[in-house]
């Protein structure tokens, strides 16, 4: 690792890097003088310390987030690659949708692996039936669509739940947000596809005061827990003005997607992980 190049590269994308490093810009103006005081062997440690000072994060905590994301992307990529490989699963007319989605999930795997380098976790092996809960997932298109929808909606929630751990980190947070938005586009598209097959579902997660899972599939309740929240930043969205009257509870639920913490996501995906 060449520390000097790394600092240069960070400054390319984060002009405020020096300010992050120190409230007194001059204190670290000349990185060379800093470097000369640090033994070469200690550079990785020094870099880690700088990173923590700059962003309030350790490289290991950032890696944890990225490896968590990578594990989910491995699952999604495997799911779509397997689906596309089944001869009689996805109708020809819908293949384009899944080719696009699979392409992104494979790209996410490659991207995250390249960012993590040697720190990247290897892929677990998967059981797409989730221990039999979705026994016909690779033979029944309706089941496949339903699982796809859940994966995408859960993926959106998982990335959203990690954003706070990347606060202020221009490079990694921005990339995570960029993947997050792609997963949301997928979720919307899969839902749109399901709606075209006659399923009563919208491109956005809907619900009511008592229903947080709008898919009608009880087995995936955990993926939608808390999605019917209407309180945002201390504001009850249903008290806000709409075009006529106040915002409906349905609109209040649909207008905001909710995060899921890591433990909840791992509990949801663990039945899909064989080893």
């Amino acid at each position: 690792m060449n520390l000097f190049n790394v600092i240069d590269e960070i400054q390319q994308v984060d002009p405020e890097f020096q300010d992050r490093m120190s409230p007194r810009r001059d204190a670290i103006k000349n990185i060379t003088s800093f470097g000369s005081k640090v033994a070469v062997a200690a550079l990785p440690f020094a870099f880690s310390t700088l990173f923590k000072r700059a962003y309030g994060q350790t490289t290991s905590s950032v890696n944890d987030v990225l490896n968590f994301a990578l594990t989910l992307e491995y699952l999604e990529a495997y799911f779509y690659n397997q689906g596309l490989a089944q001869a009689n699963l996805i109708p020809a007319a819908d293949k384009g949708y899944f080719t696009t989605v699979a392409g992104h999930e494979n790209a996410h795997v490659a991207f995250l692996k390249s960012v993590l380098g040697s720190a990247a976790v290897t892929s677990p092996s998967f059981d797409l039936t989730a221990k039999g809960t979705f026994a016909d997932v690779l033979t029944n298109y309706n089941t496949y669509l339903a699982v796809a929808e859940t994966f995408e909606d859960t993926g959106v929630r998982a990335y959203k739940g990690q954003a706070g751990n990347l606060l202020g980190n221009q490079v990694v947070l921005t990339a995570a947000l960029q993947i997050h938005a792609v997963e949301a586009r997928h979720a919307s598209a899969i839902r749109y596809l399901r709606a075209s097959k006659g399923v009563n579902i919208k491109p956005w997660i809907s619900g009511s005061a008592t229903v947080s899972n709008d898919t009608g599939i009880a087995a995936v309740n955990a993926s939608y827990a808390g999605e019917n929240n209407v309180m945002q930043g201390g504001v009850d969205i249903t008290t806000l003005n709409a075009v006529s009257g106040k915002t409906t509870i349905t609109a209040a639920i649909e207008a905001f997607d909710e995060p899921l913490d890591k433990a909840s996501v791992l509990a949801i995906v663990s039945p899909f992980i064989k080893s």
Partner: protein
């Protein structure tokens, strides 16, 4: 040397102290107004010929508020004057999107309180609201722009709660973008014109987004000297 973490902790402490002394006054609406106590974040204001978004997190929230104002006004018009041959299904979806955008707008207005920029005056003269292609084309442009604006400004947010709220909204905008694109051309929900080879959606800086947003405003334009937008 004080670390950023320490700075944030101190800042949080200052806010909590402010809250304690401010008591339950009306100014402390829902806790979201605490930024008002922070001397680094100047409130938005109307300056001569433009609307200043302010600085710090206030500027980022006002930036989002400005974009949501545009989107809400656009879909309100779309719903009020449906384009020719609009299907019942499309009408329902576009009305849903209108309601989401209005909720976003009203949320930011409430959250920003006294720091909110005033209502902006949109100029949609370039859009033919009776023509499906024109309306959906504009909707696609707004949604893709909105997603990339949130993606590009996320790292600038200093308060973790604001970042969480922005995250809750941006995925809904991405869902809209996906749907609008599928209405225009099935399967184009995330094509290569908007997603790069790494599978990443767009990210645009405020400097890139504000000039585009300003083309849809009549009267005062939005500017943010604190974000380098003059």
């Amino acid at each position: 040397m004080k670390t950023l973490t320490q700075e944030l902790q101190n800042e949080g402490m200052a806010r909590r102290q402010f809250l304690r002394y401010a008591g339950t006054g009306a100014a402390v609406m829902a806790g979201v107004l605490t930024m008002a106590s922070c001397s680094k974040d100047h409130a938005a204001s109307v300056v001569n010929d433009h609307v200043d978004l302010g600085s710090g997190d206030i500027a980022i929230l006002n930036y989002a508020y400005a974009l949501e104002q545009l989107e809400a006004a656009f879909y309100t018009q779309v719903a009020a004057t449906p384009y020719s041959n609009q299907s019942t299904y499309e009408k329902a979806l576009l009305t849903d999107i209108r309601d989401h955008e209005v909720a976003h707008r009203e949320f930011f207005k409430a959250a920003l309180g006294g720091n909110a920029i005033p209502g902006l005056t949109p100029n949609f003269s370039s859009i033919n609201f009776s023509d499906r292609t024109s309306v959906l084309g504009a909707a696609k442009a707004f949604e893709d722009l909105g997603v990339s604006a949130y993606n590009g400004a996320g790292y600038m947010i200093k308060d973790v709660n604001y970042l969480a709220l922005a995250g809750k909204i941006v995925s809904v905008e991405a869902r809209h973008a996906s749907l609008i694109r599928n209405l225009i051309a099935p399967g184009s929900f995330a094509d290569s014109t908007v997603i790069d080879a790494n599978g990443l959606d767009g990210a645009k800086s405020p400097q890139q987004v504000v000039p585009i947003a300003n083309t849809y405003l009549s009267g005062k334009k939005i500017l943010a000297p604190a974000l380098g937008i003059y």
